[in-house]
Assembly symmetry: D2
Homo-oligomer: 145 residues x 4
């Protein structure tokens, strides 16, 4: 397991997540915060679906993106912020129920961090896999400037 | 320009988009439907943002995903549906205003189609670039089964 | 572990690999063939490097691509062939020595399979991570047509 | 067109390319160097192929990676070097002849640059599309350290 440099990392992440209004819009919740590993839960709602009644692929991307981002953020020092550089997601199965996205850092770095997220359904079905690159912005606040 | 095999492609796409409840949730609108090219507009709203007040990276993915998907769908025959296999998006600039995602097919295929989307801000700033793979499901309805 | 549908999968893969002339060109070897998991070794050579003396990023892609492809192929029936649809690779560390690429299927499918590969250096350093999509072509020979 | 900050960019790139031994191994040549745009040609050779006689997908990645990288490098100042952070490539058509990879910067940046490459066959067939992220390392030599 990775050692966090900021002992207050969990409180910092919970505070940051609570300011992500887009997470509130879709009803996502932070369900686990550990060093280098963060989970985001998404209860099913009808207004999250695409035309065939499955959870929209972009919604899968939203929770996986957020899980990766906070997994990366957990290993960064206080007083910085981070941006998503890019991500790639494979949608493995259509999903019509509640989901969890599990983000894990695979390579922490001073500037760039690489993380992955797996999205699972309640019944254990593997729904999506993401690989993501994030960049730390040292000395910038994680708030609206 | 690509030739659509279904002359009713635009009506078929507008109908399908209207059934994407996730697009309604975020307030996205279909602003252009041409053969192999579809645009999705997203007026800015405060509840689409992440912790720094920028439009959430996953929201950028949602509109780019949808623009690519319908660009691909426009070249497919009536009576089929399609699924997103995977996508990759680079976030080029943080965005705090209204956006448009422009999806274009770069390789139509019988089974797989490859498309790209560019996301721009109102002021012309290039916000994100996506490359996506989609799969046609012949003889399956584009509705809730 | 995944169950192979073709009990002769290992012989089929070793034969196929031996016909990959590009693997011969770079000196890559098939070092492990299991159901859903294949490893490719690459002894270091000076003619595999880029301008700074590190193994070329495209060479990392070659061995990871091949490891993913044969991991997917190991779970497919005899008498088919497969094509790489797309892949995404993050380069995590520059590498100047011998490498191994470990490919693993994360989602086998009738048409599409998703696999990942990790590239490691001899000293255990994590060099690269790939996520890949492959498509099975039923009833087509895995040979020059 | 982008303005290069180093007027000697073309000589700098030609020198760097000539030190890429992996490009020599596969017989690739730098055929065009402009600000933000670089082309790499690859004459067909039998030892570049996979088991079905097509140019190996990893070889497509090599020339596209190199074309993107030097397109990015053309806009960077003298005295720096760059590394490939990640790339994603879709293989659009199997190819059995000579190829050209055309790399273009879509977003130059102080730290990160995003580029794309298209790979074409001699007959104009579109063979592959890459989207790539590169990182500039300021004040580091583009040579073996």
């Amino acid at each position: 397991m990775n050692a966090p440099v900021d002992p207050q990392f969990a409180a910092r992440i919970r505070d940051s997540f609570s300011r992500q209004k887009a997470m509130g819009l879709i009803g996502a919740r932070l369900s686990l915060v550990e060093p280098g590993h963060v989970e985001v839960e998404l209860p099913f709602r009808d207004d999250l679906t695409q035309q065939k009644g499955f959870v929209h692929g972009g919604i899968l991307g939203m929770i996986a993106d957020t899980a990766c981002g906070y997994a990366a953020f957990s290993l960064m020092p206080a007083g910085c912020s981070l941006v998503t550089v890019e991500y790639k997601i494979n949608i493995l199965s259509p999903a019509r129920g509640s989901l969890v996205a599990r983000g894990t850092v695979i390579r922490p770095g001073r500037t760039l961090t690489v993380a992955r997220a797996e999205v699972y359904a309640r019944d254990g079905k593997h729904v999506a896999s993401m690989q993501q690159t994030l960049m730390m912005l040292a000395g910038t606040p994680d708030t609206i400037e």
